[in-house]
Symmetry: C2
Subunit: 320 residues, 2 copies
């Protein structure tokens, strides 16, 4: 079937919210349902909620979809569609894709959510037409995806692209992963919030503007609040985000030297909250990345935003 | 022609010495000539020396070779065989492969020397049969090569695999590349020598054993001397190499998380001089790399040593 006549259902299965949408062969998103994930009710309830939403989207559709693609934060087995480990959902070795397939009688593809977003940006977004692409999604954590020589890299055990966990400061602060000085531990949303809370607590005067936006409670400070304070010109917030840009530039230089991408695309909540970071990182890359790798590099911003995952997971079953 | 009947000439073109050898389809090295490169005499003299050595190896060979593969420290254009930049030879935009081809009437392939060594280890050495392989050559500098999904990564402008220039300490010492805190700037041979010279100068008593091996001249200390002192149990040399192991472990953790290789292979002069580094790095990787990436990883040592480049550059014209 020609691409323009194909369609699929794309799913972005998050820890609290889930998006289920119709996606056409060009990556255009049609009807979209937002449902609670209900992770606390257990895996059976999560699957049941998904099945109902999918059935709703299948109603009156005429042509059957190419299949169902699901992006999920965790490690998956691409062959069986099983979820090996998904901390947000509390799942270990959950037979996920197979159960959906049995219930719906349609092909089901399961993929890591960040890799799905990379597919989305590559096929339909800011990475279109590019054979060597690197996507860096800076949200609460930092994840990434790599296209090299026209192929999405998967690695030996399907975990390639853990770009947030490259070490940029071997004596740096501890990371959630157990290592220290990871790019995520200096520039991920959780790390930004942590740094802001510490600064505000140790220097309440400098932290006034940030603290005010958090209703006076340091433990309520988020990366979003820091970004808002920076936009309003608060010096502490600006200094914190300059440190974030430095960390992202150092990490990106490593990735540019190692992968030599034609394009590096930044997305995720922290970038969306403070897009000026991209320009700062691009400037920081000069003098850090090797000139021949830098000469062929373009730095850009995600085009699909939060839709990248849904579009990419649907693409998985349409194109692969 | 079946692989076992093919042969090629492999060349490792270094800044001072050059190796020219017959290599069979199984990567076995036959007759080998070692010639001075004569870089100071200019590009024409270097090419003439190579042509004479190649003609010598072609004598009485019966079957013609599949071609001539040349590994060279620098950036090359794989399409034309031109050398874009080779600092050791003082070459800029030198029409190298084409000139050799004209003179000899044989196919000529030109490749970066570290990538050639990666091909060698992959096809004939410690990486045999592996679809996701990472080679790290720790010599005076640090270079690398990556095989992912059964393909050697080349990147957007053929510079992928500059693994020595990943940042592991964003506040670290300056690197020759212009950045600071690169893995090479903490663990490359030149950096080991530099650290040893500084320590020996600032603390001559602790530096006694190392200094003695350098005939009392701090400026004559090399990484090789530090390795020899460490083997003899010198505490300062052991401490310096522990720092090198830490840097290599931090950098390798980044690479394991980013590429998710099945095998990581260490080679190069620093490793050959002190092979115990491999065990130290393997232990350091635990607790640094992500468990799912670590679970599927094997850490090993180069099998071809200095022959990897010659075997790999010959493979380039036999297999590609």
């Amino acid at each position: 079937m020609p691409a323009e006549k194909r369609w699929a259902i794309g799913i972005d299965l998050g820890g609290t919210k889930t998006i289920v949408a119709r996606v056409d062969g060009g990556g255009k998103i049609g009807r979209m349902l937002r449902i609670p994930t209900n992770a606390a009710k257990g895996a059976a309830a999560v699957k049941q909620g998904l099945i109902e939403a999918i059935r709703e989207l299948l109603k009156g559709s005429g042509r059957p979809p190419a299949g169902i693609g699901v992006g999920i934060a965790g490690q998956v087995d691409p062959e069986t569609g099983a979820v090996k480990f998904a901390p947000n959902l509390g799942w270990h070795h959950e037979p996920f894709g197979e159960d959906l397939k049995k219930a719906l009688g349609l092909p089901v593809g399961v993929i890591n959510d960040v890799r799905a977003a990379t597919w989305g940006e590559w096929l339909y977004g800011a990475g279109k037409g590019c054979q060597d692409l690197l996507c860096l999604f800076v949200g609460t954590g930092i994840g990434g995806g790599v296209v090299s020589g026209g192929k999405v890299l998967t690695g030996c055990s399907n975990t390639a692209g853990e770009l947030g966990h490259i070490t940029i400061d071997l004596h740096g602060p501890p990371c959630h992963c157990g290592n220290r000085g990871c790019m995520e531990a200096l520039a991920g949303g959780w790390a930004i919030a942590l740094q802001a809370r510490e600064k505000v607590t140790s220097d309440p005067k400098a932290g006034e503007a940030i603290l005010k936006k958090a209703d006076g409670r340091a433990d309520q400070i988020t990366a979003k609040i820091v970004a808002a304070a920076a936009k309003a010109g608060d010096p502490l917030a600006l200094a914190l985000l300059d440190r974030v840009a430095l960390a992202l530039a150092a990490g990106s230089a490593s990735l540019v030297n190692a992968f030599n991408p034609c394009r590096i695309i930044f997305g995720g909540g922290v970038i969306e909250g403070y897009p000026r970071l991209i320009g700062k990182v691009a400037r920081g890359l000069k003098g850090r990345a090797l000139p021949p790798a830098l000469d062929s590099l373009r730095v850009g911003r995600s085009e699909l935003g939060a839709d990248a995952g849904v579009a990419g997971s649907a693409a998985l079953v349409m194109h692969l």
